[in-house]
Structures are given as C-alpha cells and as structure tokens.
C-alpha cells in the first residue's frame, strides 16, 4: 500500500509496471487516472475556458486522510494492494492530477475498490483547486455529484 503526494508528474505505464511486478496471486488491477479539463463545470459547450489550475493541500493531514481511505478500502474488499498518487501545485489542461489503483485476486474487488478510492478521495482528502481563467482565478466549489458518488458507498456499507 503506497501513498504519494507530489508536485512532479508521474508515468502511469511505469507505475502500473511497478505495481504489478511480482504479483503472481493477483487476477486483476484496476487503475484510474484523473486529468485537468480545459473548461469549468460539467458541460464543455457552456463551461468557461480554463487555462490551468493550482492545487493546494494540507501537508500531513493529506497523507493521513489518504491512508485512512486506503485502510477503509482494504476493510471492505479483499485487496492485494493499493496505490494512490496525488499531485499539487500548478497544472495545465491535459496534465495528470491523480492516480488510484487497486489489485485483487478477482476483478470485481479491484473495480469497486478503485472507484471507492477516487470517490472518497474527492470528498475527504484536503485538496483545493483554484482554476485560472481569462476572467481571473476562481476557487472550485465542491460538487453535489461528488458528495452523491461518495455517499453511495456509505449506503453500500450499511
């Protein structure tokens, strides 16, 4: 189980190769990579242009929360391993922000745990995005859709 919070980019292919190396008891790995969009909100047609963003985080609490989220995933699914990489600092459209991966003996647990990790991370890890637009900087508001995605797992647990 690995958590990395870093300014620099990562190579998903190299990360996957390292993550899968030597795993002979694992049937599947699910890996998600999040990218910076070049428009605000959900709709590319109506969303204002975004020239880039800067991610701020709370060093110390970030790692602590990510560890707690991974521990929760391991309680819920029979995972072999998990990996979370999250970047901070200035990012341009198209750049990678986040990677989460989960490996398990069977694909269902890998898919579900991967989805859980990114859903919980979005509502529980202390990161904040400010978008740089032609009209100036704007702090991104938390999305109800993200809360709904995260709370889906609360119900799943009950």
């Amino acid at each position: 189980m690995t958590i990395r919070v870093q300014r620099e980019d990562f190579d998903p292919g190299a990360e996957l190769a390292r993550f899968s190396s030597g795993k002979t008891n694992v049937g599947g790995i699910c890996l998600f990579v999040g990218l910076v969009r070049d428009y605000m909100g959900h709709d590319p047609a109506s969303g204002a242009q975004v020239n880039g963003m800067t991610l701020e985080h709370y060093p110390g609490m970030t790692e602590r929360q990510l560890e707690a989220i991974e521990a929760e995933a391991r309680k819920r699914w029979p995972l072999d391993d998990a990996l979370v990489i999250h970047r901070y600092g200035r990012l341009e459209p198209g750049e990678r922000i986040v990677l989460v991966a989960a490996s398990s003996a069977h694909r269902d647990a890998a898919f579900e745990a991967c989805r859980f990790l990114i859903d919980w991370l979005k509502t529980k890890a202390p990161f904040w995005k400010v978008e740089h637009t032609p009209q100036g900087d704007a702090w991104v508001d938390a999305k109800e859709s993200d809360d709904a995605a995260a709370s889906r797992w609360d119900q799943a647990k009950a």
Partner: protein, 83 residues
Amino acid sequence: MKVLYFAWLKAKTGIGEEDIAPPDGTATVGQLVEFLKARSPGHAAAFETMSAVRVAVNQDFGNLDTPVKVGDEVAFFPPVTGG
C-alpha cells in the same frame, strides 16, 4: 494553539498560519471561531458564512462542537475539491 487557513480562507484572512492564545474558556471550535472573527476584517470575512467552512482539529475532521485545547492544531478550509 496553531491555526491554519487554506484556499479562500487563506486569501481572506491574508494568513496561512498563526499562533494564537484564545481567552480562557475557549473550549470548542465554535467558541474559537467567535474569537478569531474579531481579529481583523479579513478574519470576519473568512468566517462570514460558516456553512461554507470546514474544520479539522489535529488533522481530523471536526465541527463547531469539537473540543479544542492549548497546543491543538486547528485548520479552517472550504469543502475539499481534489481528485
């Protein structure tokens, strides 16, 4: 007590981190906020809409009723938007 501000709360207070000595009897986050609000117009602006503010005490999420004491690290920030 160490108080931290992130995102637009940092922009409004103009401070990322401050060491403060709240008055005796400050036992909860809510009471701490009342004390902090009076420190500057920027602080008052940051805490104007408490429904938009989240808090962590010693790096765990809390709320206005969470106890605080001397030596704690208390952070204020908007709802998180990572991922």
